[in-house]
């Protein structure tokens, strides 16, 4: 029994077609309550002002028609919302207003019944207020609904005050866009990303903020906040600023509640915009910036690459007990640590395991492993490597030589390796390197000095950090009790020996317990229990009046 119910309930969530059909009826049925409510309002106004007092019969019928059809509209709307993607900025107020309106109309229908054909004046007034309040909620609800179906500016776009220029401008671009984008980087790489993450709101249909990202032209034209791409300084383009803005900050795109762009997708958009946002640059090298090394594999591939790294590669790593974890949630960059299998895996096995994920390795720890200079050739080709740990391995100068000019390496741990002075020059060629650890390696003091002098901003740790310097030593200690007491305290005597000036506890009014006394403004005050003194100190002014002066 239990099982059956829950299974039924489960299937109700599935996308079966009758349910969807019910939802799609929303744009149709919603007109029934609107019509009924407006008719009711007209009839009510007529009865009220034109004096058709005797005929209140149609009111009840219209009110119930409005209430019932309003609830049907609400339910179809909810189903429709569940099956589609609508901008929550519009959809949620629309939903809330519609529900509020339905509630008020239903209550109005009840009130109308209770008013006994208008004979009970109090109920009649409640009915009228509810009815017009319902209409007040219905108007913005209807407007938001229309905004979702017809797009922003559908109504007011042709009002006398509105500027019609951007409208006509971008409608011209709609025609030219598909031809422009044919076969270019835009349509093959950028557009699919935009379609998945942006076009629901910023498509030709919706144009939120008057921005459409559907074609290169319309992106350049931009929206309310100006052109999305700065043609003079592409790196400062608005579109980049918005997608890079902090997630918590207002204006971050896509909005926080929506599916966010992946790092690789951001990188692709970055590269595309920064290289001029060309519509048909089929040969465009999207490698994360114009100045980066051409040898690095381009990030155009990094999105499809996710599909190429099959789960089998991760399974193999896990089976070998290699630690593999994204550096943070939502990132594709991996932190890998070979600590567990370090002693078991041969160099070829390590490289074999790393091969399928090579493009995604960020932090790599190969400490105590069997990696050698030969294997370093493969490691050095990892394009996004940020931190490399080679502690206690056989890696030497030949291996470090392969890391020359590595584009992304920031931290390098070479402690207890065979590295010697010959590696200093190779290390100094790594452009982004910020930290290097060389304690226990073959570096001589001269080599170390050369390494330290070679690059400003490079932190070199050779295990020779000096002990913290002494600033000041305290004078020989002399103990005395002659410092004056702080605050209003004057007597040096122990208060327990003195008699309190009060006879009952100022907090509770109970008799005093000699164990609990304090000195306050030079007077000894007694209390009944250990809790009262702290209450007293919290707010002495409150209890001061209760102490005899």
């Amino acid at each position: 029994m239990i099982v059956n119910i829950s299974m039924l309930a489960d299937s109700a969530g599935g996308p079966f077609s009758l349910f969807t059909l019910f939802g799609r009826l929303h744009p149709l049925v919603l007109h029934v309550p609107i019509g009924a409510v407006l008719a009711l309002a007209v009839v009510e106004l007529l009865t009220w002002f034109a004096g058709f007092e005797e005929s209140r019969r149609p009111h009840g019928m219209l009110a119930w028609l409005a209430a019932v059809s309003a609830w049907i509209s609400v339910s179809t709307g909810l189903v429709m919302h569940a099956n589609g993607t609508y901008d929550p900025d519009d959809a949620l107020p629309h939903r809330n207003l519609a529900i509020a309106c339905s509630i008020m109309i239903t209550l109005a229908a009840f009130a109308n019944c209770r008013s006994n054909y208008g004979k009970r004046a109090g109920m009649l007034w409640i009915y009228r207020i509810l009815l017009f309040a319902g209409i007040a909620a219905m108007i913005p609800a209807g407007h938001l609904g229309a905004t979702m179906t017809h797009g922003e500016g559908y109504l007011m776009g042709f009002s006398p005050g509105a500027a019609s220029k951007p409208e006509s401008n971008s409608s011209a671009s709609v025609e030219s866009a598909p031809a422009d984008a044919a076969d270019g980087a835009f349509s093959t790489i950028i557009l699919p990303i935009l379609r998945a993450k942006c076009l629901t709101c910023h498509g030709e249909d919706q144009r939120k903020g008057k921005l459409s990202l559907e074609s290169v032209e319309s992106i350049r034209a931009g929206g309310k906040s100006g052109p999305a791409i700065d043609r003079e300084k592409p790196a400062d383009s608005l579109i980049l600023e918005r997608i890079h803005r902090d997630l918590e900050e207002k204006g971050h795109m896509p909005p926080r509640s929506k599916t966010q762009l992946l790092e690789s997708e951001i990188a692709s958009i970055d590269a595309w915009v920064k290289t001029g946002a060309a519509p048909n640059a089929g040969s465009l090298q999207l490698n994360g910036g114009a100045d980066s090394k051409p040898a690095a594999p381009d990030t155009t591939e990094s999105h499809p690459a996710r599909a190429r790294v099959d789960d089998g590669a991760f399974r193999a790593l896990r089976d070998a007990l290699v630690h593999v974890q994204p550096v943070k949630q939502g990132s594709e960059l991996l932190w890998m640590d070979f600590a567990a299998p370090a002693a078991r895996l041969g160099e070829n096995e390590i490289l074999q395991l790393l091969k399928p994920v090579a493009g995604d390795v960020g932090d790599l720890a190969l400490n105590r492993s069997k990696i050698t200079d030969e294997g370093m050739a493969s490691i050095a080709a990892f394009p996004r490597l940020r931190r490399l740990e080679l502690r206690s391995t056989a890696v030497g100068d030949a291996g470090i030589d392969k890391l020359k000019n590595h584009p992304s390496l920031e931290e390098l741990i070479l402690t207890q390796t065979k590295t010697t002075d010959a590696s200093v020059d190779s290390i100094l060629t790594i452009p982004k390197l910020a930290k290097v650890y060389v304690w226990g390696s073959g570096l001589t003091p001269e080599g170390l000095a050369r390494l330290r002098a070679g690059k400003s901003g490079l932190q070199v740790d050779a295990g020779d950090a000096p002990a913290a310097a002494v600033v000041k030593v305290e004078d020989p200690i002399k103990l005395s009790g002659d410092a004056p007491l702080p605050g209003a305290q004057t007597a040096n005597a122990a208060p327990a020996n003195l008699k309190p000036i009060n006879s009952v506890c100022p907090v509770t009014g109970k008799p005093l317990n000699p164990a609990y006394q304090i000195v306050f403004e030079g007077k000894v005050i007694g209390f009944c229990c250990p809790n009262c003194p702290s209450k007293f100190w919290e707010n002495p002014a409150e209890f001061k009046a209760k102490i005899p002066q």
């Binding site: 239990i2 099982v3 829950s6 309930a9 109700a12 339910s75 909810l78 189903v79 569940a82 099956n83 991760f314 896990r318 007990l321 630690h323 974890q325 994204p326 550096v327 943070k328 949630q329 932190w335 640590d337 600590a339 567990a340 002693a343 720890a365 740990e389 502690r391 931290e411 402690t415 930290k435 304690w439 740790d461 295990g463 950090a465 002990a467 913290a468 002494v470 600033v471 000041k472 030593v473 200690i477 103990l479 005395s480 009790g481 002659d482 007491l485 702080p486 605050g487 305290q489 122990a494 327990a496 609990y516 304090i518 306050f520 250990p530 009262c532 003194p533 702290s534 209450k535 100190w537």
Partner: protein, 498 residues
């Protein structure tokens, strides 16, 4: 098993109502409401984690990855059981030297609660520290450290000293429980267990949460195993204690004559039987049992390698001091902590017992500090030069501090101190904390906090932040309630973060 019956077993009352309501809500498109009743813990499983089915990769955590890029990958937490005197170690109060044997003014004490050990005292005489302090250079305006810790002082440019720590507990058991689990009552998971649950280990051959205890020379309090328990989390997250004797983990060695292959075969058979039992009862603890048996099998190899110091060079051993060859000393445990950090263990918990100096403090604290000082400084240095310190967060803490007034008789050479939760000193190092600073201030009597109080929940929130975790999103639902390490409190202290 009959699939219908299995389905029936898996449906608990809460899950049934939750799921039915969820389906109904989904049907009506009230997505927000359905997520409210969704019983799954809130976490965005990464792509990689999708592989992590019920059996999972060994050591993988429930979050799959930290919430944001972490500064620290692991924690070494040194807990000084008994509560050392902040007045004699770190919180320099030179003006108290002129208040020797004066009574503690009530305007300072403000009727605050005392333990039963001193609440009956007729006098509360101020006992200034008799230890000489020296100011060392750090990255701010210098830090005063007492003559008891000269070696630690030499790495003061790495210490992020918090003088304004405060806690709610006034006795050891609830105090330690609070520091370890974020709650004074026992029963919640320890910090390390939360790490194991959320992040998992980066070395599948060793437990994620390892505990080591060094005996002290002073007055010692009991250390219950629940301080490293997993509470309501699955039992595989509990801390594993490394013992000081010749056998660091009991019952790990195979009996003589049993080959490793035989052990493997035996485990395979036992696993099959356990899987059968799991199919019958669907008790998740059976899965935990299977994974722990596998962990123990791997530890048969990894633990002897871990505890074997023969490949440490003489200079390194000397750095940790002469006690390093004696298992169970602070020196040996600090070296082990470094070896564990090197091997990727996520949470390393060290206890030093014997800081509970109610009487005869000057004598006892000398012995305790001597056993601690050199190994502690060596640990920081050793981690630093190996490139481990920047990714390893060290916390040195105790359950509370000690009073400025003397418990028992005060003389010019001897005094005792009672428990004091209102203010005490802890410090952190490495792992993304701001190095070489002091934070917070106590009043002249070292009794109340004048500036920037830090609660235990704040400290936990800050440490979780350094580990890349939002303390409000490391959640486990138990008995219908969401639990966090920081309960419903805690604020990250940005001033402590580099």
């Amino acid at each position: 098993m009959d699939p219908l019956e299995r389905h029936h077993l898996e449906i608990t009352r809460r899950r049934f109502f939750g799921k039915s309501l969820q389906s109904i809500c989904n049907g009506f498109g009230v997505a927000g409401l359905s997520s409210l009743v969704n019983a799954q813990p809130a976490s965005a499983f990464g792509r990689v984690l999708n592989l992590n089915d019920t059996k999972g990769g060994p050591g993988a955590g429930a979050l799959g990855a930290p919430h944001f890029a972490p500064k620290a990958k692991r924690i070494i937490y040194l807990h000084m059981e008994g509560a050392p005197s902040q007045i004699d170690l770190f919180d320099y109060k030179p003006s108290l030297r002129q208040r020797y044997n004066q009574d503690l003014p009530d305007s300072v004490r403000r009727g605050q609660r005392l333990t039963g050990m001193t609440s009956g005292q007729t006098r509360f005489p101020v006992a200034p520290s008799i230890f000489k302090f020296t100011q060392y250079k750090n990255n701010a305006d210098g830090v005063w450290i007492s003559e008891l810790l000269p070696n630690l002082a030499s790495v003061s440019d790495e210490l992020c000293m918090i003088h304004s720590m405060q806690t709610d507990a006034i006795n050891h058991e609830p105090g330690i429980t609070f520091f370890q689990t974020g709650n004074e009552q026992p029963g919640r998971p320890a910090f390390g267990a939360w790490m194991s649950y959320g992040l998992g280990n980066s070395n599948a051959d060793l437990p994620c949460f390892i505990v080591m205890i060094a005996q002290g020379t002073g007055n010692m309090q009991a250390l219950s195993a629940r301080f490293w328990g997993s509470g309501f989390l699955s039992s595989e997250h509990q801390g594993c204690k490394l013992r000081s004797g010749s056998d660091p983990v009991l019952y790990l060695h195979d009996p003589d004559g049993l080959k490793r292959d035989d052990r493997r075969k035996m485990l395979d058979v036992v696993e099959k039987l356990n899987e059968q039992e799991y199919e019958q009862s669907l008790d998740p603890e059976i899965r935990a049992r299977i994974s722990q048996a596998e962990m123990a099998f791997r530890m048969q190899m990894s633990v002897p390698e871990l505890t074997d110091f023969t490949n440490e060079d003489a200079a390194t051993l000397d750095m940790y001091g002469p006690d390093v060859r004696k298992p169970g000393t602070m020196a040996a445990n600090c070296l082990l902590a470094r070896r564990l950090a090197e091997r990727g263990v996520r949470f390393i918990q060290l206890y030093q017992r014997g800081w509970d100096q109610h009487g005869n403090l000057p004598g006892e604290i000398r012995g305790q500090a001597k056993a601690l000082d050199q190994p502690l400084a060596a640990l920081i240095r050793d981690l630093r030069r190996r490139g481990l310190l920047d990714e390893t967060l060290i916390l040195w803490a105790s359950e509370f501090g000690r009073t400025v007034y003397s418990q028992g008789t005060l003389t010019e050479t001897n005094y005792g101190r009672d428990h004091h939760p209102r203010c005490f000193t802890v410090w952190m190092a490495g792992g993304g904390v701001k190095p070489g600073i002091t934070y917070g201030k106590t009043d002249e009597y070292c009794y109340n906090i004048d500036e920037n109080p830090v609660t235990v929940h704040d400290l936990h929130a800050t440490m979780l932040h350094l580990m890349g975790l939002d303390h409000e999103r490391l959640i486990y639902r138990h008995l219908g309630r969401d639990y966090r390490l920081t309960d419903v409190f805690g604020k990250v202290v940005p001033a402590l973060i580099a």
